[in-house]
């Protein structure tokens, strides 16, 4: 993929950080507002795609490292599995932190309420794990397919 014009690059510089912060906001508030790990990860992945399209796949290799992204992907999946296994004293995927008073353990007000960040038990941690996995998975997919497209085009021209 070639890099695009200066207008696109300037707009990308301006918008890129805001998209990533919005994605992490959706991930972190997954148990209170619409959203969650999958949706926020998809938003951050679209920011990666925007960077790749506007800067070209050769230049964006400095910002996005494929090895680090795949490391984060494995880390997210392992964190999710560990969180699932840690409730094994009662059942698999038991919510052992909910209503316990410790991390994310406040009891929620039943019915309509303005929302408390410190509730939800194991759900916010699982949101973070799945969000990490989904965003790095999208980044790896986009980067790999871009480098593959580069090679295909080169063979076509020669």
């Amino acid at each position: 993929m070639k890099e695009m014009s200066r207008i696109v690059k300037t707009v990308t510089n301006f918008v890129y950080g805001f998209i990533i912060i919005f994605g992490f906001y959706i991930i972190a508030h997954g148990h209170l507002t619409p959203g969650g790990g999958f949706q926020g990860g998809a938003v951050v992945g679209s920011a990666f795609a925007l960077l790749l399209v506007s800067y070209g796949s050769l230049n964006s290799r400095e910002f996005l490292k494929k090895d680090i992204l795949s490391l984060f992907e494995g880390f997210g999946l392992i964190l999710f599995i560990v969180l699932g296994f840690s409730g094994l004293g009662i059942t698999f995927f038991y919510n052992f932190l909910a209503n316990s008073g410790s991390w994310f353990g406040d009891t929620a007000i039943i019915g309509v309420n303005p929302g408390n960040m410190n509730t939800g038990g194991v759900i916010p941690l699982m949101n973070i794990a799945v969000g990490l996995e989904v965003l790095s998975a999208f980044g790896v997919i986009v980067l790999t397919m871009a480098s593959g497209a580069e090679f295909t085009k080169k063979k076509e021209n020669s």
Binding site: L32, P34, G111, A137, M145, T152
Partner: protein
């Protein structure tokens, strides 16, 4: 008939997808057909869980005393969308590798060139 218009939209989605799978020979168009069928199934799940005049099943600053939409089909759709994205990426990668090896995306020619 008018009341069941969302189901008819689902049927049109799935019908267009199956038409594309049956009659088109280009691999990219086949991928588009599979994505159309996926979207039809997602719309069908969401349609099954809808209640008339209800709100989204989220308690944060919701208007009080109203009925809520069924939440389980939405959770299933959430799972289905991510799996759809993953399989679409795999399909397109395989199409790219086929183009690299054979120089074409036509399924007939791919069959004819090498056994």
């Amino acid at each position: 008939m008018i009341g069941n218009l969302p189901y008819v939209a689902v049927v049109i989605f799935i019908g267009l997808g199956i038409y594309t799978l049956m009659f088109k020979k280009n691999l990219i168009k086949i991928a588009i057909g599979i994505v159309l069928i996926e979207n039809g199934v997602n719309l069908f799940l969401i349609t099954l869980g809808y209640r008339k005049g209800a709100i989204a099943p989220i308690y944060t600053q919701a208007p009080s005393g109203q009925v809520m939409v069924l939440p389980t089909p939405q959770a299933l759709t959430l799972t289905s969308i991510v799996i759809g994205i993953a399989t679409t990426a795999l399909i397109l990668s395989v199409a790219m590798m086929i183009y690299k090896h054979y120089g074409t995306l036509d399924t007939d020619q791919v069959r004819r060139l090498r056994g």
